[in-house]
């Protein structure tokens, strides 16, 4: 490909040093900066989770006081949601891959891309400052009037952190939309785009339409706390439930910010490991948009027990169930893609299969919670906790890990330990189920969330859950070890280690600074595996 093949010219070898990295405008380097920072936050959030599971080993609240426990689950939520899950796939894999998949040299606005990382870091610093000064105890949802009137903790600082991090998310989405619209290579029509790009496009729509609403909501909360402008203050006639509406108008679609990119990763991985065109390309592409659109109309299902009218509850309940349709379209199409595909059991496949199992359980239990009558019983119990962890950890993080294993050779130019990766996938799958499946039962039995003590009869299930969490922790620690090891001692990766289709596999591993040595022209559909499949069959 290159005129001088002996001389390496990857983006990693371009001028380096701290300054070159911190002032880089290269989307691939920014993706790596994001990857490093979200890993730090994942570790911080994980430590809070460990604290929670340790406390719940015993029925009496003997490890953490009630106040401290409140702070633990609050900080776990804030860190994991705002600083890990929301940026996870878009800001790392998305940042790295979207320009390459679009056959262009960079995102439309490279400087804004760098700005988004700095905003993320600033938001993170504010959140850590809130943590260092004593934490926050409102729950990640910041519900008023507790957050605006009563809580004596660092709500303002944490809200500022989430506000600033929100802008980093807006800028990422904004950059993706313009890039996908305006920067595609000649011949790369919308229906030749990889499904990962479609999913990121849908995600970006949610980011730019939803995130500003949480931003203004947090501004109102901060204004109420610091300036006394009591928008949600019941003493002046303000309505705390309005806060919940505004909050969930973003925070429910935010779930789709977390899972849609994961679904995009899945589409790529399923095609890649089955060596087969994705079944029903158009349906999978449009189901992403459908999820993004319907996702904006379901926030009221968080308010079934918050003085919302029964009529509104019914409408939200029905629309919520509709989300299951595009989600099922995706799941069935992935299964149909794997059917009679040339599936090889390389490490990404293990994460793919794990995702499909866990996401299905998470999605189906979502239907339980969408049914109003059932939700009134299950609301604020561990059933809800288990459900959203199946979606966010079992879905989004499994997909993120799968994507990381699939594209790690492309991103770093190094192969990692296959054995380690498979062990990690199995440990995560087993540990995850052991952690969260008992929580479904606990919730069904009536154990409420957010308490540091519980009746003795729940102990067995809680001990199972805590034991699972420790296996899960080892499952997540393993990749940190073998990925780091691969950077030092890994075998150099070929341009296309999986024999997969896609523009990213046509350039070298790791790619050069401007992604491709020649200008890209596309004249085939996405996932054009036909020749290789025919070759395989014959």
């Amino acid at each position: 490909m290159s005129a001088t093949p002996t001389e390496r010219h990857s983006y990693l070898d371009a001028p380096y040093g701290l300054k070159a990295w911190l002032l880089t405008k290269d989307h691939k380097r920014i993706a790596m900066l994001y990857l490093m920072s979200i890993t730090v936050f994942f570790a911080i959030g994980g430590m809070f989770a460990a604290g929670i599971r340790l406390e719940l080993l015993t029925p009496k609240g003997d490890f953490l006081t009630a106040d401290l426990y409140n702070k633990f689950f609050t900080m776990h939520g804030i860190v994991m949601i705002f600083f890990f899950l929301i940026p996870s796939i878009p800001a790392t894999l998305g940042n790295f891959l979207i320009p390459i998949m679009c056959g262009t040299k960079d995102l439309a606005f490279p400087r804004i891309n760098l700005l988004s990382w700095y905003l993320y870091v600033l938001g993170g610093v504010l959140a850590i400052a809130a943590l260092a000064l004593g934490g926050v105890d409102t729950g990640w949802t910041f519900y008023t009037p507790y957050s605006s009137q009563a809580s004596m903790t660092n709500v303002t600082l944490a809200a500022c952190g989430a506000f600033v991090a929100g802008f980093s998310s807006i800028l990422t989405g904004f950059n993706f939309i313009v890039t996908i619209h305006r920067m595609r290579a000649p011949g790369l029509t919308w229906f030749r785009l990889p499904l990962f790009v479609w999913a990121q496009y849908a995600t970006s729509l949610v980011m730019i339409l939803g995130t500003p609403v949480i931003a203004i909501t947090l501004v109102l909360l901060i204004a109420e706390r610091s300036l006394g402008l009591g928008i949600f203050d019941p003493r002046n006639g303000g309505d705390p439930v309005l806060f919940q509406h505004l909050f969930w108008f973003y925070s429910h679609p935010a779930v789709y910010i977390m899972i849609l990119p994961g679904m995009g990763v899945m589409s790529e991985l399923v095609a890649g490991v089955s060596r087969k065109q994705v079944f029903g390309y158009g349906f999978v592409a449009f189901s992403s948009l459908a999820i993004a659109v319907i996702g904006f109309l379901v926030w009221g299902h968080h308010l079934f027990v918050s003085s919302q009218s029964a009529y509104a509850g019914m409408v939200f309940s029905i629309i919520t169930m509709l989300v299951a349709v595009p989600s099922a379209v995706k799941t069935f199409n992935w299964a149909a893609t794997m059917y009679k595909g040339s599936v090889t059991w390389e490490s990404p496949t293990w994460w793919v299969v794990g995702f499909m199992g866990l996401f299905t359980i998470g999605g189906l239990t979502g239907l339980f919670l969408a049914a109003m009558g059932l939700d009134i019983a299950l609301h604020d119990t561990y059933f809800v906790v288990a459900h959203f962890h199946y979606i966010m950890v079992g879905g989004a993080i499994m997909a993120f890990m799968g994507g990381l294993h699939f594209w790690w050779p492309k991103m770093t130019g190094k192969m990692y330990s296959e054995g380690g990766a498979k062990a990690s996938a199995i440990l995560v799958f087993a540990g995850f189920n052991l952690t969260f499946f008992p929580q479904f039962i606990l919730g069904y039995l009536g154990m409420p969330r957010r308490y540091h003590s519980y009746p003795d009869e729940f102990q067995v299930l809680n001990v199972m859950s805590s034991a699972g969490a420790s296996i899960l922790a080892i499952g997540y620690l393993l990749p940190a070890i073998y990925f780091t090891y691969s950077l030092v001692k890994g075998v150099a990766a070929p341009a296309n280690p999986w024999g997969a289709k896609g523009l990213e596999w046509t350039t070298s591993s790791p790619p050069p600074t401007f992604n491709f040595d020649e200008e890209v022209v596309v004249n085939e559909p996405a996932y054009d595996y036909k020749p290789s499949r025919e070759a395989h069959v014959s």
């Binding site: 995102l107 313009v178 305006r182 303000g238 309505d239």
Partner: protein, 235 residues
Amino acid sequence: MATHSAGEHEHHPKLQHHFYSMGQQLEASILGMWVFLVTEIMFFGGLFMAYIVYRWKFPLAWEESSNQLNVYLGGINTAVLICSSLTMVLAVRAAQVGSRIGQIVNLILTIIFGSAFLVIKYFEYASKFEHHLVPGAHFSYVQHHVVNGVATEMTLPYGSQLFFSLYFIMTGIHAAHMVVGIGLMLVILAMSWKGKFGPKYYGPIEVSGLYWHFVDIVWIFLFPLLYLLGFHFGK
């Protein structure tokens, strides 16, 4: 830029390396600004939602509180902003036809109009502080006015404090956008001064203009919603 195959592209000095052509670059920046403005609409949208809910809940308070605002100053500010939008669009036009002087004159006028808006807003805010209409510990529902030379006292209905909370947040965030806009115009003015814009390259001035018009339009919504409720005259 060794990978850039020469000859096929125009090589305007302002063409960034990752775009194929000036046209693509312009289209990307204009789409980018529109997408950004969509986020701004959603940002203000949360406030308008709160406004709708509380106005529906407290119609009387909204009417009476609106009467505490100075409709003349608000009206003048509306006119000032509409003028600034006109000079803004003239500045963009001047860039497209390559008139440096036209850009400079119109940008300076835009900055003057924008600043005049903020000065008038300052006096409005000051009078709200004097009348204890700023929400918080010093808010007073009892208001003293001089009507036809007679000192009268009136009590604002319950919910008025919410109106003023929203008034200050909505106009405050709008004013913050004006400050950003004026800063942006100063940068654009400096670029125009150096003669950077012409028929081939006018993206920055055009997208800054879009931003300016957006901030203007927000005020066009705020003015009737906040100032023109109920009977201001002859009550």
